[in-house]
């Protein structure tokens, strides 16, 4: 990959890719764009590792008997699938890659506020990933990604501490990225870039950063307590001497519920960019979309107990958390409705990124609404810890965030690399992902309501038909992920030159060359118009399609 990137014949104008060569220029770079590229490579690796485990899970679940691997191995599969996907892929996915690359460009800045801390955060991420991979290679972890005590602290015989250390370390990478974004958005905006003119992608990343900074330390300390308990048997979570396992759940979900919004807000930001660009129209209800990002970030901290309705938490607390969970869905609803309204009387094109945006809106709506099933006390008692929950969170995480990530990658690929991907293949893969996804996860809503518990290595035979559908879907889905990987790599060398603004999009990032120069802009841009001013107001000359 790097050879193509560095081939001087490919990219004429001086840019961040051809400024310097050699591995040292990458590993010691302080350029946010290069760091973003480092992140893209790392999380792609992690995604395929996580995906490999997903494939193995689905392979095992083809038959009800549990005859492919033994139960211990299966337990390690889903645990490592969850840990890798959540902590090492989805949480850094958009903020650390597209966010890292485009937040400074969108606000007209040369770089993030603390470039060295940005690089440090990547190294911390890699250190965390090494621990997590070490845990996998040494023999795996089998606690589930939720590390519930006292199983994780006392009973499991696997590499819990190694994995927890990995997550602990990766948490600090996430914190540092968030810190950097917050300060950058506050202090580095170009002249004229008022808060009311910030692109919605920036708003979304800002809200995400708040969660990262405020939530992550709590999960870090909680995992530290688990590690301590495991190492010294001190009894903090051991009921035999008075520890309360449920306290662990409170502290874990204090972070991990808001973390699910870390895993969706940046995706929502991407969708706001895509819907406006491919409708060529100002966004409908800008202030509401912007505020709803903050609203989700804040209210998101008030609902964690909805993961604990059947744990024996006080019923009054269940009541409280259920009610507030209903509240947190309102800002999400606002976003969905506003995106739809933006398309009204627009000029809609069906390029690959927009296909992903369509997919996101539909699948996130289903995922979100089934979240409300889970927030409804009487129903959650039946469906909690069944495949219904698995289906819910894959709809929001894969149908939502992963689709948004892919959409964003396609959208900004010409800016990042200066090359176009093949549009025909792009649309084909998008449709494949959509179809494969639904085939994989829709049947799980049904098996879930029928009562198939999650984290089951062998299951009752009457669930088999639906599980076979699910496994079939997963192979389609896997193919759908591999195709973009191939054509993206291909396009680095053979893709047509993209030009500065192939989509005729608005936004400062499109006003510089592709790929951008090292300091992003020739001179600091001055902003004189609202975001998404597609219908004129522009002081800049429009760039024609190549």
């Amino acid at each position: 990959m790097s050879t193509a990137l560095q081939d001087p014949r490919v990219v004429e104008s001086p840019n961040y890719l051809n400024q310097e060569y050699g591995w040292r220029s990458w590993l010691f770079t302080k350029d946010h764009k290069r760091i973003a590229v480092l992140y893209i490579i790392s999380i792609t690796v992690m995604f395929f590792i996580g995906g490999l485990f997903a494939g193995l899970i689905r392979l095992e679940l083809l038959t009800p008997q549990g005859d492919l691997v033994n139960s211990d191995t299966y337990n390690k599969f889903f645990t490592m699938h969850g840990i890798v996907m959540v902590f090492f892929f989805l949480i850094p996915s958009i903020p650390a890659t597209l966010g890292n690359f485009f937040v400074p460009m969108m606000i007209g800045a040369k770089d993030l506020a603390f470039p060295r801390i940005n690089l440090l955060s990547w190294y911390i991420y890699i250190a965390g990933a090494i621990f997590a991979l070490a845990a996998i290679v040494l023999g795996g972890v089998d606690t589930g990604w939720t590390f519930y005590t006292p199983f994780s602290s006392t009973y499991s015989n696997t590499f819990v501490i190694t994995a927890a250390v990995g997550v602990f370390i990766a948490g600090f990478s996430s914190i540092l990225t968030g810190l950097n974004f917050i300060v950058t958005v506050h202090k580095m905006r170009a002249p004229g870039m008022t808060w009311g003119r910030l692109p919605l992608f920036v708003w979304a990343n800002y809200a995400t950063s708040l969660i990262q900074v405020l939530g992550t330390p709590v999960v870090a300390i909680t995992l530290a307590l688990v590690g301590l308990e495991r190492a010294f048997h001190i009894g903090i979570f051991d009921p035999a001497i008075g520890g309360d396992p449920i306290l662990f759940q409170h502290m874990f979900w204090f972070y991990s519920h808001p973390a699910v919004y870390i895993m969706i807000l940046p995706g929502m930001g991407v969708i706001s960019e895509l819907v406006t660009c491919f409708s060529r129209k100002a966004v409908f209800g800008y202030p509401f979309i912007a505020a709803s990002s903050l609203g989700i970030a804040i209210i998101g901290f008030l609902v964690w107990g909805h993961h604990m309705f059947v744990t024996g938490m006080s019923m009054y607390a269940s009541l409280y958390f259920s009610l507030l969970t209903m509240l947190v869905a309102v800002p999400s609803a606002i976003k969905v409705f506003n995106w739809t309204a933006t398309m009204f009387r627009g000029s809609i094109s069906f390029d690959t990124p927009m296909l992903y945006a369509f997919g996101f809106i539909g699948l996130f709506t289903i995922g979100g609404l089934t979240g409300l099933f889970l927030a409804t006390l009487g129903v959650d008692v039946h469906v909690t810890d069944t495949y219904f929950v698995v289906a819910h969170f894959h709809y929001v995480m894969v149908g939502g965030m992963v689709l948004a990530y892919l959409g964003g990658m396609h959208f900004w690929w010409p800016k990042i690399t200066g090359r176009m991907y093949p549009e025909g293949w792009g649309r084909f893969a998008a449709l494949l992902v959509f179809a494969g996804f639904n085939l994989t996860f829709f049947p799980q809503f049904i098996t879930g309501y029928l009562g198939q518990p999650r984290r089951y290595h062998a299951y009752a035979p009457e669930f088999q038909v639906l599980n076979v559908m699910s496994s079939a879907g997963a192979s389609v889905l896997g193919l759908g992920y591999v195709i973009p990987l191939i054509y993206f790599l291909w396009s680095l060398k053979y893709g047509p030159i993209a030009g500065n603004n192939p989509w005729r999009a608005k936004g400062l990032e499109w006003e510089t060359t592709s790929p951008p120069p090292t300091f992003n802009f020739e001179k600091t841009p001055v902003v004189t118009e609202e975001a998404y001013a597609y219908a004129g107001q522009s002081t800049h000359e429009k760039v024609e399609l190549t």
Binding site: H186, L214, V218, I246, L247, H250, M251, F254, F301, L302, W304, G305, M313, S314, M315, Y316, A317, Y320
Partner: protein, 99 residues
């Protein structure tokens, strides 16, 4: 640029902090029942405010910085408060059907 507080201010703040340390130490030796906890924490909050406003010079910082500082304590209150909602009400009688 921020105004620079005088040495006098700092020393006075330090003196109050030290006195409060002694006060809290001695009050803790007197049995006041539940009030011991309340007083100890109130004094701690007071001392904290002094350090934040004067030593850390939050007084002269921008409203934004103040908002962030306040936010930190607000979020900690969320963590503690909502966790306590569960523990406080665990032994309450369950509500019946017609609540």
């Amino acid at each position: 640029m921020h105004s620079i507080p005088s040495v006098r201010t700092y020393v006075i703040v330090w003196a109050i902090l030290t006195i409060m340390t002694f006060v809290t130490f001695y009050v803790a030796q007197i049995n006041l029942g539940q009030w011991n906890v309340v007083i100890a924490l109130l004094i701690a909050f007071f001392k904290m405010s002094l350090v934040i406003f004067f030593f850390m010079n939050l007084k002269a910082e921008s409203p934004l910085t103040k908002l962030f500082a306040a936010g930190g304590f607000f979020w900690m209150a969320l963590l503690l408060g909502q966790t306590f909602i569960d523990y406080v009400s665990r032994n309450w009688m369950p509500l019946g059907k017609m609540w």
